[in-house]
């Protein structure tokens, strides 16, 4: 009885809220409808990670096998290494990437030449359009032993050729560099827009009070960018075990000599399943990545809620 009346009360509250704010609900509805249809209706399909997928039976009628599909991840003992690699690379991309994007956004804001600003902004965005396949080809052009651009330069300087593609250690720097090169132009747009939203009058007032340019940057621009930075960080954390398959697959590809330092979860799984069609195992990995991201975001969001409640995601 108690439960039913509480339910009724809750429903009543919802209804009242609905009526009171009906315009707001209506305005929100297209977006909610989108997520319900394209995401929530599909989400139960993640169950396929726990079954032995059979084509004619479909996802929900296939045999339940519990955690069997996750076994291949732990069997070779590689799970720790690929998780570690994925985490480290993504942290590097996230932290370093965002910092560099902020720095560039500020730099673009601080310079005075208008045409330089416009041109460099557009040019910086070019790498975003160059597909990773072509990047891989260009990288090979740069680093290969016999005819690579860098080796040719080394030789002309009187130095020895270097076997880039046999040295795992150097690739973490190369990969991070390529990622930064590819993502900065795009990522800094958000920061640019945020800075542009800062009222110029505020800067003027600060100048009147005697603040130098660097002080203005430190005490005004940076704090203004903090909420955006935290938002992007939280989003990035949710996908901390995923992503960047294209980058790694095209730069490293089949060169297994480099794998210990450059193998990430997505490339590992791609390789494992290339000889057999096994949709469930792929989905199992996806589930692992999602779960990890979920726990991480929850934790960090809680921390953010304590420190900077306005910036928390939820």
């Amino acid at each position: 009885m108690h439960l039913v009346s509480r339910l009724k009360l809750h429903c009543g509250n919802v209804l009242r809220e609905l009526v009171k704010n009906k315009i707001l609900f209506l305005m929100l509805s297209p977006v909610i409808l989108y997520f319900v249809i394209f995401h929530y209706l599909v989400m139960p399909g993640a169950y396929v990670a726990f079954v032995d997928f059979n084509i004619s039976k479909g996802i929900f009628a296939s045999k339940f096998v519990g955690l069997d599909n996750f076994e291949f991840l732990v069997k070779n003992g590689d799970l720790w290494n690929i998780t570690k690699n994925t985490l480290l690379y993504n942290f590097a991309f996230l932290a370093l990437g965002n910092v560099i994007q902020i720095v560039f956004a500020i730099m673009l804001y601080e310079i005075s030449s208008k045409w330089f600003k416009k041109i460099s902004q557009s040019v910086l965005l070019l790498p975003h359009f160059i597909s990773m396949v072509i990047v891989g080809v260009f990288a090979y052009n740069m680093f290969n032993f016999k005819t690579g651009f860098i080796n040719t330069m080394l030789v002309s300087l009187g130095l020895d050729r270097y076997e880039f593609y046999s040295d795992p250690g150097i690739w973490k720097y190369i990969i991070v560099a390529f990622k930064i090169w590819s993502a900065t132009g795009y990522g800094m747009i958000v920061y640019l827009a945020t800075i542009a939203g800062i009222n110029n009058d505020l800067y003027e007032a600060a100048y009147m009070d005697g603040a130098s340019r660097s002080q203005r940057i430190r005490y005004m621009t940076l704090p203004m960018l903090k909420p955006t930075f935290i938002l992007l960080l939280l989003f990035g954390l949710g996908g901390i075990l995923k992503g960047s398959f294209d980058l790694f697959y095209n730069l490293i590809g089949t060169n297994s000599v480099l794998y210990p330092q450059t193998d990430i979860i997505d490339t590992y799984v791609f390789r494992s399943l290339v000889g057999q069609f096994n949709f469930s195992m792929g989905a199992a990995v996806g589930f692992y990545q999602s779960l990890f991201g979920l726990i991480l975001v929850f934790t960090v969001n809680l921390i953010v809620r304590k420190i900077e409640p306005d910036s928390a995601l939820f």
Binding site: S29, F72, K146, G253, S272, L273, F277, M281
Partner: protein, 534 residues
Amino acid sequence: MKGNKMKYPLILSSVMLLGSLLAGCSSSKEENTSSGSAAAGSSSASGSPAASDKTVNGVDISKEAKLVYYLWGSAGVANKDILAKINEKLKKDINATIEVKYIDWPDVATKYPLLFASGEKFDMSHASPGAAVSYFSLANQGALVDITDMLDKVAPKLKAEIPEQTWAGAKVNGKIYGVPSLYSEFTPTGFAYRSDLLKKYGMEKISSIADMEKYMDNVLANESYPPINGNANDAFNMYKMLVDTTDMWINAPGISLTELNLVTKSPEDYKKVFHPAFTQEFEDWAVKMRQWADKGYWPKDILSSQVDAGTNFRAANSAGYLTHAQDWIGKYGTDMKAQPESDPFFYTFAEANHKIKRKLGVENSTVISTNSANPERALMAIEKFMTDPEYYNLIQYGIEGRQYVIENGVKKTPAGFDDKKDGGGFAAWSLRNDKYNLPMDTENPIRNSLYEEWNKVAINDPYMGFSFDPKNVTTEIASISNVNQQLGMQLMLGKTTKDPKEAVAEYRKQLKAAGIDKVIAEVEAQLANFDKIG
């Protein structure tokens, strides 16, 4: 008034969302009729003859069937016209028309499995044990129609045309799930090399590994490009070289043949399988591969190379390339066009030990989906394509006079051929039949005589008719796949960081940890109940 104006965007977006769903719905009409459900309706244009009460082989063909046939590749410019001609005949004969849908080459790995897994409605498709989803998996998981009985009733001509042994190869648990091709080809792996360079070095031909090394040493000394300027894929070609040149080793099922797979000692011992990694021959081979890599037979960066040896060969950037025989034969025209002096010869690895296998028809099959609304008609269409020369020529070669002409029994490109208007064709290689196959002027003219020779000495695959069900060892296979693509690949190209013998020891350890023994046991257990055919 102002009030109305403001509501615009709100209504607009809701309508857009709704409208898109409705617009999407209208395209569904096309989807529904394409599989031609019996209820969907009567035949179309007035041109159709009185097919109303006709039956063929006991199948009621009074209602038109629209069949959907998924082929790989893409739609050439002239495909529409060729298909129109095909449909003209098909409508007359069995009151059916075909719509061809394409899965382009780069998308095969994604879209082909999706085709079956998503329950899409279509009728026919290509299938193969080595495809992204294996023919056997499809059959085992109920995605294909069991045509065993249907064949006798509906397509007796087809049943008679294909020999019993070939049908046996397509059987899964005693039932037939697909129509194998009747094209005899041989696909042993080998080394295609430039015969002009051969003559330059004063050699006659390459028929052993020693000859091959001599050729490659000469290339290193005299040419500006490497002997095998390939990519990581060549690791698996090197493995095939090992298997083919060693005793009577034959490929065995269990692990995908695109990796370092299991073998059996000889066709007679087919019930026992093992992995070569644990043999002395393998260790010796790994040492040899390292020597070859150090000598420079292939580039240092081969594991990351972006261009395959064949493409390099054609650009005069490689003295040879590794592939299978039929590919070398088929590429003859292209190779000669690019490098007219090269006239590539082929060193077949398996020839010396007489291990050239006849290709199983099931390797390229045509299957009917269980979602098809007209399985009988689909089968009848397949019968037409494989047993009627007029249909055969249309789907394989195009319209006579426009896409091809026959001169002296050889298929050639006609004089007025304009690639922009007449280019096209269907990748219907699973429907090929020796009887109607036309030799092409782009093929190596040696094909017929070579195949005749090989036909005399070829052996049958002892595993014909056996399909391995990997259900119990999917984890192990995935782990082994990983080991193969790392250390396995490195060993075969001599690129291990450790010394080869140490690396082989490590490889053996990793295979064991990945569960190779369990896989072998599973394969042997399933083989226990299998008896060799023929």
